[in-house]
Amino acid sequence: MLPFLTRRLIVAALVALAVSAVSFGLMFVAGDPAVVLAGQAGRAQDVEIIRQAYGLDRPMPLQFFSWIGKALTGDFGTSLYFNLPVGAIIAERLPVTLILGSAAFLLALLVSVPLGILASIRPGSALDRAALMLAVFGQAIPSFWLGLILIVVFGVWWSLVPISGTETWQGYILPVIVLSYYAMPALMRMTRAGMIDVLGADYIRTAQAKGLPRIRILLIHALRNAILPLVSLAAVQFGMMLSGSIVIESVFAINGMGRLAWESLLRSDLPVVQAIILILSLIYVTLTTIADLINAWLDPRLRSA
């Protein structure tokens, strides 16, 4: 297991570094950051002064290496927009996204995995069709629409929950529901497909012939094998939730990482964008590495791969 782990970690670190370098280059391709910073009322003269004041006139590789050098020591620099340490801004927003993403992920798993298992027991049954319908709706309804409808019904009409913001825990209720709803279809269908596949396998028939209890066959024998692709998918889904949903964060005025990334991109706040990309790529890489490790633990055949 140890060589496997080491190999995975080295690859993970290289991926994070490569993502960082590419995104840094892309920021400059997308438009001169000095022009963006000058804003719409900025004149050509203002742009020149900003370019010098923020060191944007230095060669790009130099800017990148000076940034990454400091980032490795934990110094992400100062936001060009807020004139505050990037670390402090991210410390403000990351917890919001972590709570939202984790809660939505848990809710999605709690609903979709049992539903997928139930649906797989009798494919084509009423329960299976109901689950399928949920999945189709989940994939078809745009998240901003669902979010706004929930706001109107539960926020404006019935005043049960706050409409926007996360000043109280109640503010998380609607966005968690909306965010999790989008992860459910894929997770549920993956569980169902995997289970149907496995339930047709010879060893399940053998287990049934041995007279093992049905629940034991389903949860121990079948699920352990059916869950492999689900773990990989879940890791990616969880990564997406942790990187924040721009649309959902916008609709509910949640100040998480997704919106910070989006807004910072629009205003060319390079230090913030770079820090977010580094953090998010680390999160992704960590999650997929964990998924690989879980799979390797579940299925010994994968360890030598």
Partner: protein, 509 residues
């Protein structure tokens, strides 16, 4: 200026407006606890005025800080603020008597040292003041006595008084010296009518009326005790908050949404200084664009049915412009050539210019709604001008434009909210880096007007410049903007054309 953040705004807005009609009347939460709940769609920047480009941050800053002077926009009168009187000692030296007994939010006493240190610091190019035009006319500021300062001007500048009127706030010297710009960003301290009590940068700002705000302030004593400003990026969510009575103030509601909301909340519309225009590459910077030909530019001016476009898309009281400025600005002469909508005349002009077979041009639009750009392109197509339309972020578009890579650029300009043509035509026709026309005659006229102190002389020279600009059709001036405010029914609020919300003047009904 972003009109809608996402394309779905109007669809969802319709659902929202239709569905809430069954709900109860909004509870007036803000009035009950004397708190004005404000929402912006965009995040305010760090609250050091000198480094703010966005309107949101500037508005908050004006509640925290004061300038030497103040302009009463309702009367146009310049009023004393931190300075009680002022005079020109010579054409480039201004002297100010400062107010006695003013205190900052941190208890520090206001004196000449604060004025001298603040202004001398921000006019140093290394400080990185966002808009050089605001400070580059000052050479240095000198202390005469504890309550008297002199500003030595680097050049005669007609906009000096306008700039000193609340655009150049005074910081507490000792505090500013210690923390610098970052200190002001982390915890702003001013002499203004409100003081900041809590801040999550970009997310939430809480203010309280500053009871120590100096007597005789032109901003007066605010009627409303507390302000809470939040960022709510999605307009529909803002509407939901408004309808639920949890929000008292928001702005920049698109015209179609405004009419739907008008029956449920208080919607107020007000004109602003911003105007929309299409600029043409005249020098071309080495490229041979058809827009270098005056006949083509005139043809374009005749070909676009601006009247219809304004009616269909601009909404409110917007009007078609003829001169390259906002009619509300000082010096914006209106007796210039008018290009009426005349497609036949446009075709004839194109034939005369040697383009009887039509021509192709690229037009980039930025910070303008797509339908308006498409309407312009459609009108031009009718006379044989085939437009390749590209939408870009403002920064990307303006960069191409300045580099001479575009024959036409459709965007808008807000003149810093200032009612003087110096803040628009001096930039685009004054010979600087943003001037892609470089008309020697216009440059000279603008320079004369910019540096003159005599208003009549300024007016005369700007008028001549504007006439030449229109006659040469250097621009296709489109229309002036109006913005809609969504307000709690219990709120009394008056919008101003400079896009600065003055909540210190707001009150409850």
């Amino acid at each position: 200026m972003t009109m809608t953040r996402f394309g779905f705004a109007s669809l969802a807005g319709a659902i929202l407006a239709a569905s809430v009609t069954v709900s109860a009347a909004p509870a007036l939460a803000g009035k009950a606890d004397d708190t004005l709940n404000v929402a912006f769609a965009l995040e305010p920047e760090a609250l050091d005025t000198y480094k703010i480009a966005g309107r949101e941050g500037l508005i908050l800053a004006r509640h925290i800080y004061d300038g030497l002077l103040y302009k009463d926009l309702d009367t146009g009168e310049i009023k004393p603020a931190l300075a009680t009187s002022w005079r020109f000692v010579d054409p480039t030296t201004m002297e100010f008597d400062l107010r006695e007994g003013v205190v900052f939010h941190n208890g520090a006493k206001f004196s000449a040292d604060d004025v001298v240190y603040t202004l001398n610091t921000v006019l140093d190019p290394n400080y990185g003041t966002r808009f050089r035009i605001a400070v580059d006319w000052i050479e240095k500021v000198e202390k005469v006595s504890d309550l008297k300062v002199r500003i030595k001007m680097a050049k005669p500048f007609a906009g000096a008084i306008e700039m000193l009127a609340d655009a150049l706030p005074i910081y507490p010297a000792a505090y500013f010296k210690e923390g610098g710009s970052a200190g002001m960003a982390a915890k702003p301290v001013g002499t203004g009518p409100y003081r900041l009590v809590e801040m999550t940068p970009g997310i939430r700002y809480a203010f309280e009326r500053f009871d120590g705000h100096y007597a005789g302030s032109p901003k007066g004593k605010p009627a409303i005790g507390k302000l809470v400003v939040r960022t709510i990026p999605e307009l529909n969510t803002q509407f939901a908050e408004l309808l639920a009575g949890k929000l008292d103030w928001t702005w920049r509601i698109p015209p179609d949404q405004a009419s739907r909301l008008a029956s449920r909340i208080q919607v107020v519309s007000g004109p602003i200084m911003r105007i929309a225009y299409v600029g043409f590459a005249v020098t071309g910077k080495g490229k041979d664009y058809p827009t270098k030909n005056v006949l083509v530019r005139r043809a374009i001016n005749h070909a676009v049915n601006r009247e219809a476009i304004v009616k269909a898309f601009a909404g409110g009281a917007s009007q078609v412009l003829n001169a390259a400025c906002n009619p509300k600005q000082f010096g914006c002469a209106q007796d210039v050539v008018r290009y009426d909508y005349a497609p036949e005349k446009a075709k004839a002009l194109l034939t005369e210019a040697g383009f009887s077979g039509g021509l192709d041009i690229e037009m980039v639009f930025a910070a303008m709604p797509r339908p308006v750009a498409e309407a312009i392109a459609a009108d031009l197509a009718k006379v044989g001008i085939r437009v390749t339309l590209n939408e870009q972020q403002y920064a990307a578009g303006v960069q191409k434009w300045r580099a001479g890579e575009l024959p036409a650029f459709f965007t808008n300009w807000g003149s810093y909210g200032t009612g003087d043509v110096a803040f628009i035509i001096s930039n685009f026709f004054g010979g600087g880096a943003d001037d892609l026309v470089q008309d020697k005659e216009v440059i000279e006229l603008v320079a004369t007007a910019d540096s003159a102190q005599d208003r009549a002389l300024r007016q005369e020279n700007y008028a001549k410049a504007l006439k030449k600009i229109a006659e040469q059709a250097y621009w296709l001036p489109m229309y002036d903007f109006n913005i809609n405010y969504g307000l709690s029914p219990a709120l009394v609020f008056k919008p101003h054309p400079d896009e600065f919300a003055r909540w210190w003047l707001a009150s409850w009904k």
